[in-house]
């Protein structure tokens, strides 16, 4: 029998947990993607088969399932692979690993059921509060409890990886941290730091408030604590994609990573700068002084640096791979890349779209131009390029490499996989382009019917109907792409036969290795301390002034339960009633 050396052969126990995590992720992707199509058709008035009030339940589920469940379940799976593979040792206790997976699953279930209560009368819950759950919207306590369980599950997962690393360090006291483990650990460090914000927001304020223990909350305070977590979480989704671009893409291209030291620098920069930027989501919030917004803007701009460095390294690594495969010339080497491989092509296209998303992100980060695009459809276009493509397409593409590693089976249909990733690129081009343009002339995000009675929108080029058609077409192609992906994964897992031709479980070598960087780069305590100091500088004064001005529990803010659905004309009457 041929000596196969796939991940499942090296770590069969861990492979089972990772498979479970990836399948949780895929399930969330399928449900969340389908809901996305419902929204795309509803907003654009192409097809409306749900009442517009229910649009917001669908939107809440779409957001939570895709940006939290899909991404983070994939992350914990991939990071478990990264740590065990690069340290070449299993987790300390597989029961603990199953424990955090179970905790995250239970949390997801609670959140999911409470959101579903928004459209299913038999479930006496409601959580139509969207992914950001801004108070004074008040969700059912199960929503908050589920969210906490999920996040604590990720904390325990991080602990699992840290103690695997600690055990490895004991055996290898003089070795540099292997790059994939370094990436997982630095990512977890800023995740610990930033998720403190949402933990305080929920445990100290929103959960006791939803249980009736406290009467009022300070909406600006809980909102600021949310964004303390809410921007770093986007890097939490992005870092596994970056890890795959650094450790898998060069290998899939047929070469090596250009520079290990700069990859480490990039992750250190993310550790330091991810958290003290959250206020850039609050440029237009009252109650926060301009100076604090300026600090957040400056930090955000410096966060461009690690992404620009990544762009260089990824392209340089691909070129190196292409030249190893016989590519030549200034640009002709591009032809030598393995475009038939869905894992490679998907990641390359994801990286390309991330460049476009990065440019619209630079606009968002611009303090003054943000007035024009804030909360417009532009922003939705932006994050469908970042989390919706850079992350989601990279994850799907990587699955074409990982699922064989985790199951020992060949992909059911690789050509279909290639069509699937290309279809995602085309669908997202249509959808995000239209969303960006629509945002510029004022169409808002998070709105079931952006068609108003008293005015209409005025596009610079084309018509609103063309924009809507473009979004609906894009959404349909994206959903088709998701279903092709799921079909391929299901048929690979249940239908495929075990193959001995699965490649060995390895990651990319490096042209310039860790020995080219000073050992201080691996000093996680130092970088964490600097990150903490920057967070204190960026956040202590804004939080103090918010609490000082509005009080810890706000100036008598009444909870607003979104389940109270009433006729809007009655509401207008009541508006007139309360006005003097």
């Amino acid at each position: 029998m041929a000596m196969r050396n796939a991940y499942i052969d090296q770590f069969p126990e861990e492979a089972r947990v990772i498979r479970a995590a990836l399948w949780s992720s895929f399930l969330a992707l399928m449900i969340g993607g389908t809901l996305g199509l419902i929204q795309g058709l509803h907003r654009t008035n192409v097809l409306r088969f749900i009442p517009s009030q229910d649009y917001y339940t669908v939107l809440t589920a779409h957001g939570v399932l895709l940006v939290i469940t899909f991404t983070i379940f994939f992350l914990v799976g991939i990071f478990t692979w990264a740590v065990t593979t690069s340290l070449d040792r299993g987790v300390k206790d597989i029961r603990f690993t199953w424990g955090w997976y179970a905790m995250m699953s239970l949390g997801t279930l609670l959140v999911g059921v409470s959101i579903l209560g928004g459209v299913v009368d038999q479930i006496p819950m409601n959580a139509d509060v969207l992914y950001t759950f801004y108070s004074p919207f008040q969700a059912h306590p199960a929503f908050y409890v589920g969210f906490v369980l999920f996040v604590v599950g990720t904390w325990l997962a991080g602990f699992d990886w840290f103690r695997t690393w600690w055990a490895w360090k004991k055996d290898n006291p003089d070795e540099r941290i292997p790059l994939p483990t370094f990436m997982a650990l630095t990512t977890m460090l800023f995740w610990y730091l930033s998720s403190i914000g949402v933990a305080i927001s929920i445990l100290a304020f929103l959960l006791p408030w939803s249980l009736g223990i406290i009467d009022s909350v300070n909406p600006l305070l809980t909102r600021t604590l949310f964004w303390f977590f809410g921007h770093p979480v986007v890097y939490f989704w992005l870092m596994p994609a970056y890890m795959l671009w650094y450790t898998m893409l060069p290998k899939l291209s047929g070469g090596k990573l250009f520079s290990d030291p700069l990859a480490r620098v990039v992750f250190v920069l993310f550790l330091i700068l991810s958290t003290p930027v959250g206020i850039h989501h609050q440029y237009l919030d009252p109650g926060i002084a301009e100076g604090f917004k300026f600090i957040a803007m400056t930090n955000t701009m410096f966060l461009l640096l690690p992404s620009l460095l990544t762009a260089f390294t990824v392209v340089a690594s691909m070129e190196h791979g292409a030249r190893q495969r016989g590519g030549e010339g200034y640009l002709s080497w591009l032809k030598a890349l393995p475009w038939r491989d869905p894992a490679f092509t998907g990641m390359a296209l994801a990286g390309l779209m991330f460049a476009a998303g990065g440019f619209s992100g630079m606009i968002n980060a611009g303090l003054s131009i943000n007035y024009l695009v804030h909360n417009s459809w532009w922003v939705v276009g932006h994050f469908h390029l970042t989390v919706g493509t850079a992350v989601a397409l990279t994850f799907m593409a990587a699955s074409y490499w990982f699922i064989p590693q985790l199951t020992g089976k060949e992909i059911w249909n690789r050509s279909l996989g290639l069509v699937q990733v290309v279809l995602w690129f085309i669908g997202m081009t249509f959808m995000s382009n239209a969303m960006h343009r629509a945002g510029l002339f004022g169409i808002p995000r998070r709105t079931a019917e952006p068609q108003y009675e008293g005015f209409s929108f005025d596009p610079a080029v084309g018509t609103v109907a063309e924009i809507d058609a473009q979004v609906a077409l894009g959404a349909a192609l994206l959903t088709l792409s998701v279903y092709l992906f799921i079909t391929n994964m299901v048929l690979t897992t249940i239908g495929g036969s075990t193959s001995d031709a699965i490649p060995d479980n390895t990651y990319a070598g490096t042209l310039s290795g860790p020995e080219d960087s000073p050992a201080i780069i691996d000093n996680l305590k130092l970088w964490t301390s600097i990150a903490v100091v920057l967070v204190i500088i960026a956040y202590s004064l804004p939080l103090a002034s918010i609490i000082d001005a509005g009080g810890l529990f706000g100036p008598g803010i009444d909870p607003w339960k979104p389940s109270v659905v009433v006729d809007p004309s009655l509401v207008l009457e009541s508006v007139r009633g309360v006005m003097p």
Binding site: Y134, P219, L220, D285, P286, F312, N375, G442, E449, V578
Partner: protein, 275 residues
């Protein structure tokens, strides 16, 4: 640390780009003076909005020169007032607060945009150069009918703009030969006194003010409405010569009109009417 030459160049270009972005934004703040929404608006208890000096009577008021203030209360799912009218070439400071959840106050397709967080007052100063009509919308999810929350912003030519409001109060009916009164309240939200003439017209004739108005007459009355104040005028109407039937009347002040119909009845018929 060993860094490739190309990578060093790229690093330098990236740093120049970043510093360039920060420099242009800094210039935007100190040069053209694009200020961010900040904490100048202060905080407010949403339960006290009706007692608040600014928000108890929301709308546009004149501060002086070409400067105006607009107070707006947002709540699910409407703005009060829903329509804002300001003159061109004006500087308007908006004060917006929320009675319930987080909203936004957004003039579609422009950079007039602020979040409206309950407990906070958003203060935003806007310069309006040209006349135009704009839609106002809420771009932050605020509940099941969020998508119905909208308003209107009219920027009108300066010479068409005033802050005069007129309300009239008059009986619908009077008995022939009796005297009745049409009350007119004129308010002025400009920062200076409004000196103008109030005219009552019944039918098509004109009579001086302080005279009792008879049939088919118009009465004029000079009026001075103090800055940010109001005046109530009483037009006494003697119906002796009116004849029974419906008589349309119109009060005109500073280009604004209030109108109604007075039905004059016979003394005996009037009795039926009262019954």
């Amino acid at each position: 640390m060993n860094i490739h030459t190309y990578e060093k160049t790229w690093l330098a270009v990236a740093m120049v780009l970043i510093v360039g972005f920060i420099a242009t934004i800094t210039y935007g703040a100190v040069g053209p003076g694009i200020a961010m929404i900040d904490d100048d608006g202060g905080t407010i208890d949403p339960d006290t909005i009706n007692d608040d000096e600014r928000f108890s009577d929301p709308g546009v008021t004149h501060v002086g020169g070409n400067e105006y203030e607009a107070a707006v209360v947002a709540q699910a799912w409407a703005y009060t007032p829903s329509e804002i009218t300001v003159p061109a070439n004006s500087t308007v400071t908006f004060y917006v607060t929320s009675r319930d959840v987080t909203h936004s106050y957004t003039v579609a397709g422009t950079n007039v945009n602020t979040m409206v967080v309950p407990g906070q007052v958003s203060e935003m100063t806007v310069e309006f150069d040209e006349p135009g009509e704009y839609g106002i919308l809420c771009n932050e999810y605020c509940g099941a009918y969020h998508h119905t929350m909208e308003g209107k912003l009219n920027v009108v030519p300066e010479d068409e703009f005033d802050l005069t409001e007129l309300s009239t109060e008059a009986p619908d009916e009077a008995q022939l030969g009796n005297q009745t009164t049409i009350n007119t309240t004129v308010s002025n939200d400009m920062n200076y006194d409004l000196e103008t003439t109030a005219t009552l017209e019944i039918g098509n004739q004109t009579v001086e003010q302080d005279q009792t108005v008879e049939q088919d007459q118009t009465v004029e009355q000079d009026v001075t409405v103090p800055a940010h104040g109001s005046e109530t005028l009483e037009f006494a109407v003697d119906t002796t010569d009116f004849g029974t039937g419906d008589h349309d009347w119109t009060v005109t002040v500073d280009g604004h009109e209030g109108s109604g119909t007075l039905t004059v009845t016979n003394a005996t018929e009037g009795g039926d009417g009262d019954a």
